[in-house]
Symmetry: C2
Amino acid sequence: MQKKVREEAKRKFIEFLEKKDFRITNQRRIIIDTVFSTDKHFTAEQLLDWAREKDKSVSRATVYRTLPLLTESKLVHEMDFGKPYKFYDPNYSDSPNHNHLICEDCEKIVEFDSDKIEKIENEIGHKLGFTVKSQNLQLSASCDVLKSKGACDKKTCD
Amino acid sequence: MQKKVREEAKRKFIEFLEKKDFRITNQRRIIIDTVFSTDKHFTAEQLLDWAREKDKSVSRATVYRTLPLLTESKLVHEMDFGKPYKFYDPNYSDSPNHNHLICEDCEKIVEFDSDKIEKIENEIGHKLGFTVKSQNLQLSASCDVLKSKGACDKKTCD
DNA sequence: GCCTTTGTTGAGACATGGTGTCATTAAGAA
DNA sequence: TTCTTAATGACACCATGTCTCAACAAAGGC
């Protein structure tokens, strides 16, 4: 990830903390630095390991306490793929993507938005007597067409 | 749930076990009886409690070992709502619903279908260069409107 | 810089959902 | 009925995640 993007994310996080009257601690700085030194999705435990590589003083509790701040500030996306742990994704766009397509073949994860789907979801929720608060759409897909063209394999997809 | 349905499910499960050369044990009989004595979704721990009400000899291990058999035999559907535990739904085999709405307030789960959403999903998948194989849509919702009308509370929702 | 206030932290106990081990039990076959 | 061995119960164990609390340190005032 580019340094510029990293610095920008850091600035946004500090801004978020200031707005909430939360303190800008070394640990929080280390964690956001760690998050934005990768493009990949990660788990809480991975983030803990990476952060502790940078600074042994970062504790598990702090990582688990900081992750909700990162998701609340929209700098990180929380994703659930039915595993007993969650995945997180550094998110530099402002779009509130909660829809993911996971390729069965190359494991690539694509985020996407759809106003149409969102609208239908709200309609259905309302019809059933509920107010939709959040949604999670997961598509399992195959890139075999791309693969046959030599355009998609483990290397190019990740 | 009607007795007929329950008996039918039991028969199917026994058939499944026989095909796999698995033994038809008392515990497995108790567990499938328990599962199909309700229409409700349940968690593994709930199933354990219910089964133990019928027969104290059923152990946690056996419940956790039997659930994969039930999902494999398509008699029960496993659902993940991002909580640290899974939900299971009896009598799944007859309905192809993969969309669920779960109420944050009363934990009610509603299954629904939407051809419209499915169509859009396929379009999006194609646009991104993939073939959509399966999909999983979960809506987190609130029944507070119903609640304020006195139409929905823990009792009526479950 | 030095205090003071108080949010934040690290360590580790704890909670919870689930798995593994192993001696014992019982299903199904002969 | 006896034999073989899959299945079981009890419980230790694991993993992810949360909670508590004494100690620390950020931010602001002096």
